[in-house]
């Protein structure tokens, strides 16, 4: 029996060591860059191949949980970084990462092609890569069938005819949920937003944990055929709903309430302590190149930040872009975010 045990142990150790050597551990050697990112990151296979062709450097992608989990992992490991470049920090969490000193300063020459409004970090620790808007989407069929006008403003949502029609996400557990909370802060100010949410609550707003539950579960134009015709989602949801249908409809089944949109910008940065700073900078440049920027819309369903990038047809036809999305200064978000979430919880859930 003991001999059997010894054999088994040896076999396991052998197996474990083969596994370890087969998989290797990320980063480090001169010809591979590790891109630490969140689980929603996506890019066409041949795009990074092109980067490798240009520079001789391969890119290994390390998905590390949702956006919050990924950036916190980077902060926790700043003395011994997980990789060379990070992608996926957005303006709602910008200051947490920049203040921790996890990013090395780098001003990419490609920024010349990016409108100034997206460069939220004047010290260039992070570089804008894509942008999108969190907006209220509506079910076109519902409003047409019921002869109800589509709400035009955030205030409209508190009117009796829209009672119980809106589903949103908990800002404590969801990124679009947080963005919508920030939209109401931007709209109604520090003194007014809680009052607004009290009115929304009185008008039976429904709150769920995350986007999947809201869109696929509760939204009447979503796949679960839920009950609510208004949902907090993205300005890119109308084109996505068309793109992922077969056959593709001539018109998107959902629309966007443009006055409800909050601007989200995603950034990349060179991680402080990388032993391959030159290649890491080249990767940031590459992510701003037309090749990469063009690939963004159909992979991550957000917009490129670079000017003059050709958008896919489905975006041109079906995406409504808010002319003046709501926004807040990243420093103001950083100073108040946790308190706002806390107060929101008190106002809406308790």
């Amino acid at each position: 029996m003991r001999r059997a045990a010894v054999t088994v142990v040896l076999a396991t150790l052998g197996l474990a060591s083969t596994l370890l050597s087969a998989c290797g551990s990320g980063g480090g050697d001169g010809n591979t860059l590790t891109l630490v990112t969140h689980d929603s990151f996506a890019v066409s296979d041949d795009v990074f191949a092109e980067f490798t062709e240009q520079t001789g450097v391969e890119v290994e992608v390390l998905p590390s949980g949702d956006a919050g989990a990924a950036i916190n992992q980077v902060i926790l490991t700043k003395d011994d970084p997980l990789g060379d470049v990070f992608f996926g920090l957005d303006n709602t969490f910008l200051t947490r990462a920049t203040e921790e000193g996890v990013f090395a300063r780098y001003e990419s020459p490609e920024l010349a092609a990016v409108p100034d409004q997206y460069e939220l970090d004047p010290r260039h620790r992070v570089t804008p890569i894509d942008r999108g808007d969190v907006c209220i989407n509506y079910d076109k069929a519902y409003f047409a069938d019921n002869g109800l006008p589509v709400p035009q403003t955030l205030d409209d949502l508190t009117r009796p005819e829209y009672r119980g029609l809106l589903v949103t996400e908990n800002p404590a557990t969801s990124s679009p949920g947080l963005a919508f909370l920030l939209a109401t802060v931007a709209q109604f100010g520090e003194d007014g937003w809680r009052d607004y949410w009290e009115r929304l609550r009185a008008n039976d707003v429904q709150v769920v944990a995350g986007w999947e539950e809201a869109y696929n579960g509760e939204f009447s134009a979503g796949e679960g055929q839920g009950d609510q015709p208004l949902v907090v989602s993205y300005a890119s949801s109308p084109p996505a709903a068309v793109f992922f249908s077969d056959p593709q409809p001539a018109e998107s089944p959902i629309g966007t309430v443009l006055a409800s949109c909050f601007n989200q910008i995603e950034f990349a940065g060179v991680l402080e302590g990388t032993d391959n700073e030159r290649a890491a900078r080249e990767l940031v440049d590459f992510m701003l190149s037309e090749r990469f920027q063009e690939d963004i819309p159909l992979n991550m369903f957000v917009f490129p930040v670079r000017d003059g990038v050709l958008l896919p047809d489905v975006f041109v036809q079906f995406a409504e872009v808010p002319p003046e999305p709501l926004t807040l200064d990243p420093d103001e978000i950083g100073d108040n975010r946790d308190r706002w979430i806390e107060e929101w919880t008190d106002t809406v859930l308790r």
Partner: protein, 551 residues
């Protein structure tokens, strides 16, 4: 047998499991908790004080405990009769059902959540009950997920119990209920306690069910640790909550150890083939029918909803969603050929199963041996507890612990795919131990001794007496480990790792984007995951060893 040598042998057996859990669990968790408690190099106990005094946090701790206790009691009550009929009654499709009850266990919460919501929402079939976003929805989902734990852990032992003992009690005038209480229940007690403690730990650390089915008003220790770590990066408070979690788990395990009895009695175990029989008379047939009905309603209906959705296409039914799994849309890298995801899932599951069964079986042997000779019990208890702890500690804590602890050679595993099967094995080891130990302890010493008296060598005694029963238990345990790994999603999501998407990961990504095609493909992938699980477990358990190779 020389007691000294026996103790040494036990220590040798225990060394591997203890080292495994120490390196891949205790050390990372201690490191991350240490960071929280010693933020600037000096000890800060204020967050711990906050947990003890803050009314809201106390409420969270209290809710976590009682919802887990209630879920456990409900699961045991609903599943025990199911374990009985599956262990004792012979009927067509029994073996397949034994494998199929495990399916819910592997499904990602987000998928099951969508099926339950479909049933419970206002205009759904069960909408009239008004259970959407309620405690009842949480409890039903917990029973749904954990039914298999009780059925398989308890049923595994029940199918080997000699029914003649209960029959003897009946002949001596005991009522059915008296005979069950006096004979069968004590024999099953260790297995019931083992299953209940696992169910408790699972529901104690439940995350997705609470958020998705309970709604935003419910918070448990697990959701709060997630919030403090991932949303607020408040490591001191997260560490304090993690300590509370560990203390609660240790307290529970002490209670459960008591419930298992001072010393498991050796039972008369028989081959399952000799125990199982066709139901006789209306009473037995009614019992069988009632339990099959419960399984169909509780497990079958939500699963059927998913399967139905996977076949629905605009205007009817078809294979559109399955075709979509193979479709490349504009070369997006979100796309993973399903074959590749299936292969990744199977490889990780196979490796995790080998690790878990090896580590768990060594521990089970040592723990069972401890029960037979009269050696100090404290060490064994401690080890048993250590092995159970990974089930009761937050996945966020372990994942972030890996990150800060395993960053130097020889253990520079950050960013290595090897962490995935290791994390899966950590969750599976407690199952292996809990399934195997009661069976090993129950092997009748009398049988061993007679074999030895008849001149069999120790090796032969082991081969002829222990091995067949052990192998049976090991296969049941392996089935569990495999299923856990196939379905595991929560723990691995926090580990930075190169991208080898498994089926649950593919499902999650598909559900993360709007559009009918993505949703249909997610349902199709879930259906494939279900089928794969049932087939894998069925195949593993058909693998016959010795004469006790049934069930």
């Amino acid at each position: 047998m020389d007691r000294h040598r026996a103790a040494l042998a036990r220590a040798a057996l225990l060394a591997v499991p203890v080292a495994f859990v120490a390196v891949f669990f205790a050390y990372p968790v201690a490191t991350i908790v240490g960071r929280g408690l010693w933020p600037d190099g000096h000890l800060d106990l204020e967050p711990l004080g906050k947990v003890a005094t803050d009314a809201e946090l106390r409420e969270v701790v209290w809710f976590t405990l009682w919802q887990a206790a209630l879920s456990t009691v409900l699961t045991v009550l609903v599943a025990l009769p199911g374990a009985y009929v599956l262990a004792r009654y012979d009927f067509p499709g029994r073996r397949l059902l034994w494998a199929a009850v495990t399916v819910p266990f592997v499904l990602p919460t987000v998928v099951v959540g969508s099926a339950f919501r479909g049933l419970l929402e206002d205009d759904g079939p069960l909408g009239a009950l008004g259970l959407e976003q309620s405690l009842a929805a949480i409890l039903i989902a917990h029973v749904f997920f954990n039914y298999a734990v009780v059925v398989r852990t308890v049923g595994g032992l029940w199918s080997h119990l000699d029914p003649r003992q209960e029959e003897a009690a009946r002949v001596l005038g005991a009522s059915r209920w008296q005979a069950f209480r006096a004979v069968t229940l004590p024999a099953l007690r260790p297995a019931i306690a083992a299953a209940a403690s696992i169910v408790f730990l699972f529901t104690f650390t439940s995350f997705g069910v609470i958020l998705i089915l309970g709604g935003p008003r419910y918070a448990t220790l697990e959701t709060e640790i997630y919030r403090q770590t991932v949303d607020l990066l408040n490591l001191p408070l997260a560490a304090a909550l993690a300590i509370v979690q560990v203390l609660a788990v240790v307290a529970l395990l002490l209670v459960s150890a008591r419930a298992q009895g001072r010393r498991a009695e050796a039972l008369r175990l028989r081959a399952a083939g000799e125990v199982v029989r066709r139901p006789e008379g209306p009473r037995q047939r009614a019992l069988l029918a009632a339990n099959l009905g419960v399984m169909a309603l509780l497990l079958g209906v939500p699963l059927a909803v998913l399967v139905e959705r996977s076949f629905s296409v605009p205007g009817g039914y078809g294979l559109g969603a399955y075709r979509e799994l193979g479709e490349v849309r504009r070369g997006t890298s979100l796309f993973v050929p399903p074959v590749e995801a299936i292969r990744n899932s199977l490889v990780f599951a196979a490796v995790a199963t080998v690790i878990a069964v090896t580590v768990g079986a060594l521990a089970a042997f040592a723990l069972a041996a401890r029960g037979r000779d009269r050696s100090p019990r404290a060490t064994g208890r401690g080890v048993e507890m250590l092995l159970m702890l990974p089930l009761g500690v937050s996945a966020v804590t372990v994942g972030f612990g890996f990150l800060v602890a395993l960053d130097e050679p020889p253990l520079d595993l950050r960013g290595s795919a090897a962490l995935i099967p290791i994390a899966h094995a950590l969750v599976a080891v407690p199952f292996v131990v809990r399934v195997m130990t009661p069976v090993l302890r129950a092997i009748d010493d009398g049988l061993r001794e007679s074999a030895a008296v008849l001149g069999a060598s120790p090796a032969r005694v082991w081969r002829e007496v222990d091995l067949p029963i052990v192998a049976r238990a090991a296969l049941v345990a392996a089935g569990f480990a495999f299923a856990i790994s196939l379905g595991e999603f929560g723990a691995t999501i926090f580990i930075a790792r190169p991208d080898y998407p498994t089926l649950p990961v593919v499902i999650f990504r598909l559900l993360g984007q709007p559009g009918a095609l993505n949703f249909g493909a997610a349902m199709a992938a879930s259906t494939i995951l279900m089928a794969l699980t049932a087939i894998a477990i069925f195949a593993i358990e058909r693998f016959r060893v010795g004469t006790v190779g049934e069930f």
